[in-house]
Each structure stands twice: as structure tokens, then as C-alpha cells.
């Protein structure tokens, strides 16, 4: 028994002719924060969606806490309870209040009584400065607030693993930091996270390990200091150079 929360072995995924993931091997330990970096289309989001079983994989294994979640006849719903995911476009439920967005899964999936679920949700919302928005519908909130609600919604299920899929890419620049601060706080609290991101400065600060994806493979991985200062692979260097040229690191 290792302390790996997530272990991915030889993962392949194609969409029709297009092979998006071509053999991914990676392990994420408990309390570890792993950042996935790479150009758009390198497979970061697909990898996260595979881990959450939102995409069916073609080959390989995904193991969570020593349970192969890609085996046949696993209870998909039961596995998803333990893995939270936050999407680029928030995907809040527009017909529900913030509070209902957060309590829906605890009530319907875990069978918690409404009062208990609402108490827990309110506590979480308070922690992230959203308590006064609890009775608003998502459309009344700013993008940053919506994304923070989406994070709270995932946290309300008390997941073992949190996947963040470019959570700041749809935000206006001035709203990025409020969301990143939430993620920093989660990291400080020991949350195990896999984060696909274009925010290199953030990745350098927060990650224990950085994986560079290119063409559906992890080309290089290592601690952020090494990845950002002395990358070994020429393609990693190229990618980081382009980021630096764009003034984003």
C-alpha cells in the first residue's frame, strides 16, 4: 500500500482519428499538488476528464486509493463522489441558488438532511467570502465569484482528490487572483490536487511537482524550481520560452 491517491498507467484516449493522450504515466501522492502545463490541445483537460470518468479511456489504468476505477463494473457514481472537478466555464446550475448548487450533491447523493447540508455549505461559503451570495442565482455573480462557488460545490462533497481544469481561463484578469487565492488556501490545507493551468507563476508557487504535456505525453516532470529554471527537454524549453516571450512568466 503506497500513499498514492492517484496512479495513472499507460493511459490512451482518442476522439475518433485524433489520439489526444498517447500513454500517460503519473502518480499523485496524498497532500500533493501537481500542475499540468502545456500548450492548448496538449491533452491536459482530457486527462482530467478521464480521471473523473467523464471520458471513457481506450487503454491503460487509472487507480484511486488502490482501486482500479477503469475496471469493468465499477460504480462510476460512487467513484465520482470522491473526486471533485472544477471546470473552466464554472458550469454552475443556473436555475438554482448558490446554496442549492452547493447542497444538491450532499443531499441527493450522500442523503444528508437539508438543514445539515445547508449548515455545512454555509460554513464553506463563509470561509471563501461568499456567505452573502448564498441566496442569489449564479447569473447575478461575477465570474470570480461563480468560480469560487464552483470550487465550494466540489468541496462540499469532501473529495479525496480535486481536479482543476484551467479554472481561471474564462475570467477577466482582475478576477484571476481571487480564485487563485482560494486554490492556494486549499493547498495550504493539504488538499490533494491536479491542476491544469496556463498561469505559470501560480504553478511555480503552488505546485510540488510540474508535468509538461506535449502531444498527449508527459515529456518532462519535476519540482517547479527545476522545471522553470533548468528544463532538460528542448520542447519544454521551447514552450517556456514562448511563455516568457509573451510576458506571462
Amino acid at each position: 500500500m503506497t500513499d498514492a491517491v492517484l496512479r495513472i498507467e499507460g493511459l490512451h484516449k482518442s476522439f475518433g482519428e485524433l489520439e489526444v493522450l498517447r500513454g500517460i504515466d503519473v502518480q499523485v501522492d496524498r497532500h500533493e499538488v501537481v500542475c499540468l502545463i502545456g500548450a492548448s490541445g496538449s491533452g491536459k483537460s482530457t486527462l482530467l476528464r478521464c480521471v473523473n470518468l467523464l471520458e471513457e479511456i481506450d487503454a491503460g489504468r487509472i487507480v484511486i486509493d488502490d482501486v482500479d476505477i477503469t475496471a469493468r463494473r465499477v460504480d462510476v457514481d460512487r467513484i465520482r463522489r470522491r473526486i471533485g472537478i472544477v471546470f473552466q466555464a464554472f458550469n454552475l446550475f443556473p436555475h438554482m441558488t448558490v446554496l442549492d448548487n452547493v447542497t444538491l450533491a450532499p443531499r441527493k447523493v450522500l442523503g444528508r438532511p437539508r438543514a445539515e447540508a445547508e449548515r455545512a455549505a454555509t460554513e464553506l461559503l463563509e470561509r471563501f467570502g461568499l456567505a452573502d451570495k448564498r441566496n442569489d442565482v449564479p447569473d447575478l455573480l461575477s465570474g470570480g465569484q461563480q468560480q469560487r462557488v464552483a470550487i465550494v460545490r466540489a468541496l462540499a462533497m469532501d473529495p479525496d482528490l480535486l481536479l482543476l481544469d484551467e479554472v481561471t481561463s474564462a475570467l477577466d484578469p482582475e478576477l484571476v487572483s481571487e480564485v487563485l487565492n482560494v486554490v492556494r488556501e486549499l493547498a495550504a490545507g493539504g488538499m490533494t490536487m491536479v491542476i491544469a493551468t496556463h498561469e505559470m507563476g501560480f504553478a511555480r508557487d503552488i505546485a510540488h511537482r510540474v508535468c509538461f504535456l506535449d502531444g498527449g505525453r508527459i515529456i518532462e516532470e519535476g519540482p517547479p524550481a527545476q522545471m522553470f529554471q533548468e528544463p532538460r527537454e528542448p520542447r519544454t524549453r521551447q514552450f517556456l520560452q514562448r511563455i516568457i516571450d509573451a510576458g506571462r512568466l
Binding site: 463522489r81 471533485g84 471546470f87 446550475f93 436555475h95 447569473d139
Partner: protein
Amino acid sequence: MGLSGGSRDVGPLEPVGPREPLLFRRRSDREQLARSLTIALVSSIVVFGGLALIITSSPGWESVKQSFLDPEVFADSLPDVVSAFWVNVRLFLIAEVLILVFGLLLAVVRALPGPVLFPVRAMATLYTDVFRAIPGLLIIYVLGFGIPGLGLEGVPNDPFFWAVVTLTLVYSAYVSEVFRAGIESVHPSQDAAARSLGLSRLQSMRYVVLPQAVRRVIPPLLNDFIGLQKDTVLVSLIGVVEIFRTAQIKAAANFNFTPFLAVALVFLVVTLPLSRLTEWLVIRERRRQAGRGGAR
């Protein structure tokens, strides 16, 4: 006003600057409104007055007036027609509830994925295809006369029962398509978000997809129900004495078509408010969507 005489210095197309005094702007708006109303009124009088003139001066007008617009026959038949209309009202109220349930069920079944459910989906698809293809009139005949004709034990032969069954079967096919369009209009990311939280397929449908879908399809649903209310007259064919059959009886007794005019009026009275409501809902939904787009 006195100094500028008849000339207007604020034309309808002249842009109104943001710094213009509010009072002045309001008055010009009001003037424009008054002008538009006058024009609309005059043009209506000309068009409808002209039409009335053409019809009443036609060579056959007197005889048509006698057989379609007899005030005595109208007054005599209206109470009977109205009371017979309650049969139609009962018919469409019962059918509407059943249609909503059955139509929604069909739509949900067709939206469920997975190879195991293929036969169920195929059956639902076949059902909608068949019942939308065959004229409702034929189905009424077949069910209303055919099934009671089999003489099976325990099968009702009350025409009202078969009228409800027919309308439900036919309209569920249409309504399920409306629901399905609504379900498909909800972005897949909503389902993904629900599933990612551990909600099952059915829970995601029930709590996340359907509430959004149903809200969007209320106007087209009401539209289908307007059609249904009118189609209730078709069941007169299998012997349900409802508004149309009553009017036929009255018409035959008086050798006069005026009772049908009474029927038309009754339907107008019931359907018009529903049409206005539908239109109002469509406009409201459009505004809401626009508001949402602006907020993002």
C-alpha cells in the same frame, strides 16, 4: 409651438443626444406615439371598412347572412353549445395531464444513453414517428370503433374514454419532441457537472437537466395545447356529443349554419387568452436570455 408654426424640428429619425433635456425628449416621444396611433387607426378603418363593404355588397350576401348570421338561431343555440363545450373542456384537461406525463416519459427515455437501452429508445422513436405520421382522424376511428368492436372482456366501450386515449396518444408524440428539444438545448456541460458530483444519470436528469429544459419549452407546449383544444372536436366522429356534434344537431334542426358560428366564438374566447399568454412567455424568455448574455 406658436413661433415654429407647423414645421416640426424634431423628426422621428433625428438622433436624440444624451444631454438633451429629459422633459423635451419625453414630449417628442409622446408626440410620436400619438402620431403612430392615429396612422394605425386610420389604416385599420380603411382596410377593415373596405373589406366589410366588399362582402356586404356582394350578390350572395343576403342569403349567406341568413344562413350563417341568424341572430335568433344564434341566441337559441348558444346556451346548448356552451354547455356541450364542457365535454371538450373535460376532455382536454384530462388529456393534457396525461400528455404531459407520457410525453415527458417518452422524451426522457429517448435521451437516456447506453447500448442496453437501445430497444427502449428504438420503441419510443418508432412510436413518435408513427403517431405523428398518421392523421389523428384515422386513429380516432380505429381506436374508437375498432377496439370496442373486439368485444374483449373488461375493455371499456365508452367513446369518451377512447377519445381521451386517442388525443393522449397522438399529442404525446408531438409533446415528447418538444420536451426532447428542450432537453437537448441544455448544454452537456450541465450534465457533466452534475455527474462529476456523483449524481446518477437519472438524478442529473431530474434535478439539473429537466428543470432547465421544461422552463424553456413552456411556450411551444402551450402552442401544442391550443392545437389540442381545437382537435377535441374530432372526437365527435366516434359519437361523443360535444360542442361540434351539438352544433351539428342544432344546425340540422334549424336548417341554418349559425350554430357553427357560436362554436367558433366559444373557441376564440378560450384560445385567445392562451395565445396571448404564450406570446408573453416567449417575450419574457427572450428578455431573460438577453439579460443572461449581458451579465456574462
